[in-house]
């Protein structure tokens, strides 16, 4: 009798987890875009910092657990960003945010990218409230990169005269 009851109970129960219910998927977890950016990061790399066409933005702090370095390569004549790359020390959401940032700045004018808002990045990645600061840091990184490029240009300009 014991054996039968046990067999019955074991057969009813799944051995490996079955498909998650809608409730589970909706609860906090990584959005598939975040996972995608983490597994296949776009534009990881470094440009030469000394290159006059490169602007480098370094934001965050190791003590906070988030550091982003975002670099842009600008075409001198048109003011368009032709290439971008990043490196990030941070959680999956931070990596995804900076990866998205590099994708979005490519091919745009510098004034245009300054209008990229952290809320747009957060929405694109469905970031939960606790990870919103990652998108803010990405926005800061873009601004810092642009500012760095402008500073470089300003310093170089008087020399050209």
């Amino acid at each position: 009798m014991l054996r039968l009851a046990l067999k019955r109970s074991l057969r009813l129960g799944p051995a490996v987890s079955d498909t998650p219910s809608a409730a589970m998927v909706a609860s906090r977890g990584y959005h598939e875009r975040v996972v995608d950016h983490y597994n296949n990061p776009r534009n990881v790399g470094s440009f030469d910092k000394e290159d006059p066409n490169v602007g480098t933005g370094l934001v965050g702090a190791p003590a906070c657990g988030d550091v982003m370095k975002l670099q842009i390569k600008v075409d001198e004549d048109s003011g368009k960003i032709v290439d971008a790359c990043f490196k990030t020390f941070g959680c999956g959401s931070a990596i995804a945010s900076s990866s998205v940032a590099t994708e979005w700045v490519k091919g745009k004018q510098m004034e245009e990218v300054l209008t990229i808002k952290n809320t747009e990045i957060a929405k694109h990645l469905s970031l939960p409230p606790v990870k919103l600061h990652c998108s803010m840091l990405a926005e800061d990184a873009i601004k810092a990169a642009v500012k760095d490029y402008e500073l470089k240009k300003a310093k170089a300009a008087p020399k050209q005269e």
């Binding site: 014991l2 054996r3 009851a5 074991l10 959680c91």
Partner: protein, 413 residues
């Protein structure tokens, strides 16, 4: 080791089509082989993460699998001998009570105590609450201070904080001379039970919290050790029918208690063997990782540590992102209990780990059922992920270029 256990399992498990997979299943499979893509049954998707097969389990400090021998001991008490141990009038109650008392003796024997000093509860958290609040409230008219350490579990610290609101004063060091001074010494033995030899007489312990699910027993049960000589009095935190000598009311859950007792007995027999095995596995893991990666720091002392716990920091790599990549290995970053907050683990901070390194730590938990194949796979996966993340890390790049990270003025936001 796992194979031995499967042989020991009752025939039921072996003949069943959906045989319970051991955690070695996903582990032993070699890395990227050109095999056909796993069928839908094998891919597990949860919280946006896809894993093929169950991850190998290396988080023994969070919880442990139930030893099949413990489950064997428990099952009859769910199905046929299911009486309430407090029923005094029939066989069902008597046999249930006898089982509870046997379990009580098994737990007591593991820590060198008298069975009359063991009280069953729902877990170590409840024990900690009874110990801290119970003792303090009982003696509230005589003494009003508590001494605790920074590395205690959240429930102990929270209980102390509660008492602070009731007017008790906290002090910050721990004293070993407690017994001589007549100060009750409580210790949270949840992680230690069954892994290191405990003798309450030798260690001068007055109260101890024990947890079932940390020693390959069931979840939902714990035991509180309360010294009789000299007697330690507590104010009960659960009011009701006066079970467990008035210390903790509520029907004693016989199957769970029997499970805990069986787990203790097994632990007593196998402690030495387990320790040797786990130590060698820990060395294998550490050497395996260190031989392929540099700048790996072990958090906490190497000499005074339980060998099944390896807490490593990988410089320049953030812990949560590493965990995201290690989805084929179940590990944790710091301690599970404070996972809801963004701050680095307070335990690590108390151990003196630098703030920026505290964000980089991973805790590997090795136990009785961990196999060498799992360790090797864990090494492989960890090294792969750390290398990938270091390539993505600006800090690693700067360090390799010779920049001293501590000298940089970071732009905080």
């Amino acid at each position: 080791m796992a194979r031995n256990l499967i042989r020991r399992l009752p025939i039921l498990y072996q003949n069943h089509p959906h045989r319970l997979f051991s955690s070695a299943t996903a582990a032993v499979a070699p890395s990227p082989s050109p095999s056909p893509s796993p069928t839908d049954e094998e891919i597990v998707e949860m919280k946006g993460v896809k894993v093929s097969g169950r991850p190998l389990y290396m988080d023994m400090q969070a919880t442990t699998p139930v030893d099949p021998r413990v489950l064997d001991a428990m099952l009859p008490f769910y199905l046929s001998r299911f009486g309430n141990p407090h029923s005094r009038t029939h066989l069902y109650g008597w046999e249930s009570e006898a089982a509870v008392e046997t379990a009580r003796a098994q737990v007591a024997s593991l820590i060198g105590a008298n069975p009359k000093e063991i009280f069953f509860t729902s877990g170590a958290t409840e024990c900690n609450n009874i110990s801290v609040k119970g003792v303090m409230r009982f003696y509230r008219d005589k003494k009003r201070h508590v001494i605790t350490t920074q590395t205690e579990h959240k429930c102990v610290l929270d209980s102390c904080r509660h008492l602070q609101q009731e007017g008790f004063e906290p002090l910050e060091e721990i004293g070993r001379i407690c017994r001589e001074k007549g100060v009750p010494f409580h210790t949270d033995g949840a992680q230690a039970l069954g892994k290191i030899p405990i003798d309450v007489e030798k260690m001068g312990i007055a109260l101890m919290s024990l947890s079932g699910h940390k020693i390959y027993g069931p979840k939902g049960v714990g035991a509180l050790y309360l010294r009789r000589r000299p007697r330690v009095r507590v104010e009960p935190q659960m009011s009701g029918g006066g079970q467990e000598r008035g210390i903790r009311s509520g029907t004693v859950p016989t199957p769970l208690v029997v499970g805990m007792g069986a787990a203790c007995e097994i632990a007593a027999k196998e402690m030495e063997y387990d320790t040797r095995r786990v130590t060698s596995l820990q060395e294998r893991l550490l050497n395996g990782i260190r031989s392929r990666l540099d700048e790996v720091v072990v958090n906490g002392s190497m000499e005074h540590r339980y060998p099944g716990n390896l807490n490593l920091s990988f410089a320049y790599v953030e812990g949560e992102s590493l965990l995201m990549g290690l989805k084929e290995v179940a590990v944790s970053s710091g301690s599970a209990c404070t996972s809801a907050s963004l701050e680095p683990s307070y335990v690590l901070r108390a151990l003196g780990v630098d703030e920026d390194m505290a964000h980089t730590s991973i805790r590997f938990g090795i136990g009785r059922f961990t196999t060498e194949a799992e360790i090797d796979r864990a090494i492989e996966l960890t090294v792969q992920q750390v290398e990938k993340l270091r390539n993505m890390s600006p800090l690693y790049e700067m360090a390799k270029a010779g920049i001293d990270l501590k000298s940089i003025q970071w732009a905080q936001h």
